[in-house]
C-alpha cells in the first residue's frame, strides 16, 4: 500500500478547500510559522501596490460579514450546539490530554483511563450509522438482534485495534483544519497530525443528529475506514449469513483484551 506522508501537503489542502463553515475562532488552523511567512510575503507586495492595498482593505471590511454569512449557512444545522469543527477539536484535545497523562503509563490505572477515552469517543460516534453504512446492501439480511450484536462486536474490534495505535502517541501535534460542507446535515472536518517525517492527513465525516454532530467515517491518508470494512463485510456476506460474520468477528476478538460495550446506550441517550 502506498501511504507515504506528504510533506507540507497541508498548505495546499488549505488553499484548495474553501474556508469553512463552522470554523471555530481561536482554534489552531495551521502551522503558525507557515502562516506568518505567507503574511510577510503579502505585506511586502502591498508596499509596492497601493491598489492591492486598497482592495485588501475593502475585503477586510467585508470579511466579518461574509465569514458570518458562511458560518450561518454551514452551521445552520448545528445552531444549537458546538460546531462540527469544535466537536472534533474538543474530542481530540480530550483524548490527547488523557494519553499524555503520566498516569497512563501506570498499568494499574490504564484500564480506567482507557475507559475514559472510550466514553469520550463514544459521545461523538454514531455507531448505528457506521454499522448500516459498512453493511451497505447486506443490512437487510440482519434482524435487529443480529444487527445489535454486529455493531457491538464491530465497535469493540475497532476500538481495541485503534486504542493500541493511539497509545503510541508521543506528543505529536494534531491540527484541526477546515470544515467542508458535504450536505445540509453533513460535513467533513479535515485535520493533520504532524509527525517527525511529515504530516498524516486524517479527515472526519460527521452528521448532525438531534442537535449534535456525530462521527460516521474516518479517512486516514485518503482511505475511508467505512469503505474498507464495507468491502470486507461484503466479501464475507455474499456467501455467508449474518451470524457467521458475527462469529468471525467474535473469533477475531477472542485473543484481544476485552473492552466494554461501545454501543451500550448511556443514560439519557437515544439510540
Amino acid at each position: 500500500v502506498e501511504g507515504r506522508r506528504t510533506k507540507g501537503e497541508g498548505r495546499k489542502r488549505r488553499k484548495k478547500n474553501k474556508e469553512s463553515p463552522g470554523q471555530a475562532p481561536g482554534v489552531q488552523m495551521g502551522n503558525s510559522e507557515v502562516t506568518m511567512r505567507g503574511k510577510f510575503r503579502n505585506v511586502s507586495l502591498l508596499c509596492h501596490n497601493p491598489w492591492a492595498a486598497a482592495l485588501l482593505f475593502a475585503a477586510l471590511l467585508l470579511l466579518p460579514v461574509s465569514v458570518r454569512a458562511a458560518d450561518d449557512a454551514a452551521a445552520s444545522a448545528g445552531a444549537n450546539g458546538p460546531s462540527a469543527h469544535d466537536t472534533v477539536a474538543d474530542t481530540i484535545d480530550k483524548v490527547r490530554k488523557i494519553l499524555a497523562d503520566p498516569a497512563y503509563k501506570d498499568s494499574a490505572r490504564q484500564p480506567a483511563l482507557r475507559e475514559q477515552i472510550r466514553q469520550t469517543v463514544l459521545k461523538g460516534v454514531d455507531m448505528d450509522r457506521i454499522g448500516t453504512l459498512t453493511l451497505a446492501q447486506y443490512r437487510k439480511k440482519f434482524d435487529d438482534a443480529q444487527f445489535r450484536r454486529f455493531c457491538d462486536l464491530f465497535s469493540r474490534l475497532v476500538f481495541t485495534t485503534y486504542i493500541s495505535h493511539m497509545e503510541k502517541y508521543n506528543g505529536e501535534k494534531v491540527i484541526v483544519l477546515n470544515t467542508e460542507k458535504l450536505a445540509e446535515d453533513r460535513v467533513m472536518v479535515h485535520s493533520k497530525t504532524l509527525v517527525e517525517t511529515g504530516e498524516v492527513p486524517v479527515d472526519y465525516s460527521l452528521v448532525h443528529v438531534e442537535g449534535v454532530w456525530k462521527l460516521y467515517d474516518v479517512h486516514i491518508e485518503g482511505v475511508s475506514l467505512v469503505k474498507n470494512y464495507q468491502s470486507q463485510f461484503g466479501e464475507i456476506l455474499v456467501n455467508k449469513k449474518p451470524d457467521q460474520l458475527n462469529e468471525n468477528e467474535a473469533n477475531l476478538r477472542r485473543s484481544e483484551t476485552p473492552t466494554p460495550d461501545l454501543t451500550a446506550p448511556k443514560q439519557g441517550e437515544v439510540k
Binding site: V1, R139, Y162, E196, G198
Partner: protein, 246 residues
C-alpha cells in the same frame, strides 16, 4: 531470443487487453460514503464501487500470505533490531536521504501530470537539500523554506492520463499492485535513486518500518478479512492519488 520476444509480445497484448477491457474503477460522485445510502434502492445503502477485477485471485491470495509472513517474520523483526541499533536521528536522516533520491521520479511525474509548479518546487527542494542539507540527510526545504514535496509516481501519471487500473495483482515482496501498476513499478524503479543503490530498497523499507511509516500493519491488524482489506486500501489509495486529493 525470439522466444523472449514472443513472451514479451504476449505480455504486452495481455496488458493492453487488461487496460482496454477491464472497466476503469469508477469513482463515487463524492468521497463521502453517505452518498451510497441515497443512491441505494429499497432504503438500504449500496456498496461503493471501490472494487477492482481480481481474475488472478489464487495467485494474489497465495502471494498475499507469503508477503504477510515475510513482513511479520522478517521485515518487522529486522526493523525492530535496526531501530535498537541505529539512533532515531540517523534513521530520520536516512529517510530524508531516500526521499531526496526520489527526486527524479517526483520531478518527471509532476511534469507528466501537468503540475509545473510542483516540478519547480521539487527542483528547488533537491538543490537545497542536496547542498545545504548535506546530500539530503537533512531537509532544510521542509524545516526552513517550507517547500512542500508531493508524492508522484508513474502509476498515478498513467491514471491521470486516463489509463484504467486494470486488474489486481500481488507481487512477491512488492505487495499489492495492478496491471497498470506493473508499468508504474518499472518506470519508478528506473527513476528512483533508492532502487539504483544496491540493497537500497531493502534498507529503505526497513528504515521506514522502524520509524513506523509502514501502513501495512495498521491495515492488516484491524481487518476481519485481511486480503480484502489490503486490496481495498490499495484501490482507495490509488483512486485518491489519481484524483489529486492526496
Amino acid at each position: 531470443m525470439t522466444r523472449i520476444c514472443r513472451v514479451l509480445l504476449c505480455v504486452t497484448i495481455l496488458l493492453a487487453c487488461a487496460f482496454a477491457v477491464a472497466p476503469r474503477t469508477a469513482r463515487a460522485a463524492s468521497d463521502d460514503v453517505w452518498v451510497d445510502e441515497k443512491a441505494g434502492s429499497s432504503g438500504t445503502p449500496a456498496a461503493t464501487d471501490y472494487t477492482i477485477p481480481d481474475p488472478l485471485w489464487a495467485w494474489n491470495f497465495a502471494w498475499f500470505h507469503v508477503n504477510d509472513s515475510v513482513y511479520f517474520w522478517a521485515i518487522r523483526p529486522a526493523s525492530k533490531g535496526y531501530g535498537y541499533a541505529v539512533p532515531k536521528p540517523a534513521r530520520l536522516g536516512l529517510d530524508n536521504f531516500f526521499q531526496n533520491l526520489g527526486f527524479p521520479r517526483r520531478l518527471l511525474n509532476s511534469a507528466f501530470q501537468g503540475h509545473l509548479d510542483e516540478t519547480g518546487t521539487e527542483f528547488c527542494r533537491f538543490l537545497v537539500n542536496t547542498t545545504i542539507g548535506i546530500g539530503g540527510f537533512w531537509s532544510p526545504a521542509d524545516r526552513v523554506l517550507y517547500l512542500p514535496s508531493h508524492e508522484r509516481d508513474f502509476d498515478q501519471t498513467l491514471g491521470v492520463w486516463g489509463v484504467g487500473m486494470g486488474f489486481y495483482l500481488t507481487f512477491p515482496l512488492l505487495g499489492p499492485s495492478s496491471s497498470r501498476g506493473i508499468l508504474g513499478i518499472a518506470m519508478d524503479s528506473g527513476t528512483d535513486g533508492a532502487s539504483a543503490l544496491p540493497g537500497g530498497s531493502v534498507v529503505k523499507t526497513i528504515n521506514s518500518t522502524s520509524l513506523g511509516l509502514n501502513p501495512y500493519e495498521s491495515v492488516r491488524e484491524a481487518a476481519v478479512d485481511p486480503y480484502t482489506a489490503v486490496r481495498n486500501a490499495y484501490v482507495q489509495n490509488r483512486i485518491q492519488a489519481v484524483s489529486g486529493k492526496e
